[in-house]
Symmetry: D2
Subunit: 290 residues, 4 copies
């Protein structure tokens, strides 16, 4: 099947490769002339036979919203746009409405897999109308891992990005759990070889997982993480997950703690803890560190 | 190789089976006459050729301590005792010291695998002297899953139970992360089929794990968990993990939150939240629920 | 000075009383004919001499936004509107812009004090232009407690509600700290008379506060909180505080935990803990509570 | 009445002064010859008329335990020892038992008030037998603030230190709540003068408290806390509070988070966040900070 892909970076470029390996006819567009197959969006549209399908794989936010708006001008009735970026689910309904005015369908697709997706397949969580999803199934089947898992039609427009958002929120909690356990083992005088403990957990344990495999791999490369600082950025999904927990009154103690731990990791000094130190000095004459 | 096992319940009984399948000569003792191979500990000792090895698989705490003390009386110089129960790591040094007075070696073994261990193998984290561990390797090799993972000699006496304790602390955090994500998906109007989302995550995602596979399995059996109440007990390891975080000044935000969530799940009403309600009524005249 | 007040409920009504006691000329409007001094907003405007000042004290959200919009139609160039409700700070800039089109000034005022404000005075945190704040100072002075505290001009439009939002976020954390300590004392076998302990803390301690005084008062009325259930609602400020912490990457572990504790207090059963119970059953054959 | 005090540091010295001002006859002992009234404990005992009362005000732990043991040798049947230090409540029963062998009574007294206690009085939470407490009431009355608050006989031996422990646990949560609110206000673009906001809160608000007064005082001295680093130590009570929450299955989300925040404040880098950074690099090719 024919597909246009906009955005040929780390994710989009590998997806083009995986789809071509599966025999699909992919026309890519990127602002990098060494990567692109088309000169602009109009040229991309012209290179695809109607009804067209175009996968948007550009940074979430303004870039995605502007790309969708531009596609509304170059695509036609019966075409389909898939937003495969890390958009906030709340962007999907406006995008779908804008395209629907021209008769263009819309699917939101949460994509997991990172740099491993090219070989292992990309897990896909999609939202939209069933008829649009049915049309796109050959593409989804080629992108996803083989077998019965790795794809879900989670609901109407927005459901795909929503499921991906929660997936990432869970991911924050999982990573934090391993990280806290790692720190405790490192701090204790009882365990001599912490990397060996993590390696052993890869089979037979309750905590075995792909993330654990990766942690073992990272510890093999740098057993004390000497080359790293404890500085962790966050993309939007963790924040949106906590925002949704507030809207829906769902207690997310562990996931919110994981998000806050990342915020803390990026602070040179903590204004809150300055206030604590100041208070302790006031009431107890406790020495402070100046 | 020959091994005595004390305690033939769900864990010990299956371990006996797995070892016998591997060709080992296992003599089991249990107070249940339909399970036991020996009439008492002295008979168990008599049925084993010196130097003997005896695996203790009874409830942690008093039962294990008393069994170890009893073994000190029936075993001899050169024998080895392995405590494979969920003992607190701080029990290991006293147990080892008691046995050392008679020349008996001691290994602590954290065992993971639950009801799946019989078929998949049991992950083993052991602590003790290298010479004792070397002696027991044929048994460990038969119990563990095949391949390079599933076994670690984590350090001296106590290191095995310590590693297992942290393993379980991490497990609390992992389970809580999935559970929080589950609750958020259930609460949202955006996703229609929550079990299908979890099922899809089993391949290609960052959150794939054995626990996720089990959650999918549980959702297959009861898609809304209608047959369950949200009541979660805890064994000691989660508590000990948090206790150790206090001793070692290691922040465990996510793991402690997971432990507290279990405490909350067992409360009919929260005294703390009564105090909150009382305060709100005092200062704001907010209505309370009586 | 002359002031119109819209909304004569628990807060607005008491504020009218306090202002009249201080000699101000207050015209109140309420939809309750037994409370109102004016038939409608136009009548309220007509009863005030220009330049007018009107204090809006109605529920936050649509009710406040609609009242401000209606005031834009009945007030004139040089008048001032004060929103004293619990509006989200993000409502202030749009309200101010709408009124500015007619030359009407705008002040947002966070008001603390609850049912005690009539006698003790209301703490005020205001945002807006200095010239508007200066004009309104006679009203603020009459509402606030006597002395040097209880009033701050926190910044431009929105700063008053923002400061009040953070005030309430802190309040959540303070209440949770007392509540957790209360529950621990109740749970322990060591302390015999928990209410007496709280009463003793009212002087000489580090934890003495107005909230503690109220808690003592509540325990005097009902020493075991027998008449209460542990069910705590939340108004918007706690949620907005956590939302802002996400926007600004500020870790709020204690305040978010306090908000989540309230969410939990309102759940009959926890879907998350059902998932935990299901998982424990899957891997360990742990009994579940059905 | 006559009292011996052992330990004339910041707390004990001021208590001696406050008691003398109230007309009591105090004999102090300290290893510092410029402070002490007695050459050693035997001399202290000799300088007091039987039945004697001796207040121990030395560092918690070994120092206190050794002092109590030494007192058992120099005191006699009918005397009373009061431990006013920050001992863990679990030290009290052994201390009381040791002294009871000689017929010496024991009271544990949690003391709050810090450097302010000399002028304001010290809040006292005491545990022990009623007859011993009755005997000591003249001393307690002189130490405590005037009025109906500031003293509680909380229960049997250990109850005083237990109540003080929970008092300090609550204090951790209160301080953290103010500190988090402070950091959020500092981070926001909406509020211009953060110290002025805190100052205003001292009257009329729900969050007014002695700690808030101290925070205002600290901000007056150093409005941006420029002279401080965000480094907060902890004495034992916060840790013991969390340990007790584990023993008693009481969820303490806010208080434990406050304790962990202090642990974090003392880390140069976070091993846990190194693990997070390593994982992100593994699965996503996310750049890390080296």
């Amino acid at each position: 099947m024919q597909l246009g892909i906009i955005g040929l970076g780390k994710m989009g470029g590998n997806m083009r490769t995986r789809l071509r390996r599966a025999g699909h006819d992919v026309v890519g567009f990127d602002t990098d002339p060494t990567l692109t197959d088309a000169t602009d969006l109009a040229d991309l549209a012209a290179k695809l036979d109607a009804p067209r399908a175009v996968w948007v794989m550009v940074p979430a936010g303004d870039a995605t919203r502007q790309t969708v708006a531009a596609l509304a001008d170059v695509l036609s009735d019966g075409d389909i746009v898939i937003d495969g970026g890390n958009s906030r689910f709340s962007d999907d309904a406006p995008n779908a409405a804008l395209l629907a005015e021209r008769g263009i369908g819309y699917i939101d697709a949460g994509v997991s897999g990172g740099v491993w997706g090219l070989e292992n397949g990309y897990a896909l969580m999609v939202g939209g109308e069933k008829k649009h999803v049915d049309t796109m199934m050959p593409i989804f089947d080629a992108l996803k891992p083989p077998g019965e898992y790795g794809f879900v039609h989670a609901g109407g427009v927005g459901a795909g990005h929503y499921a991906k958002m929660v997936h990432n929120g869970i991911e924050y909690g999982l990573m934090q759990a391993y990280a806290e356990g790692y720190e405790l083992l490192k701090a204790s005088e009882h365990v001599e070889n912490v990397p060996a403990v993590f390696k052993s957990w890869r089979e037979g344990t309750v905590v075995r997982s792909w993330l654990l495999d990766l942690l073992d791999r990272a510890l093999e490369e740098d057993p004390n993480f000497d080359a790293l600082t404890g500085y962790a950025t966050d993309s939007g999904e963790g924040r949106w997950t906590v925002e949704e927990s507030i809207r829906l009154a769902v207690p997310l103690h562990a996931i919110s703690a994981s998000l806050y731990a990342r915020f803390e990791s990026r602070q040179d000094d903590s204004p809150a803890m300055k206030a604590i130190a100041a208070l302790r000095n006031q009431f107890g004459g406790h020495a402070v560190k100046e």
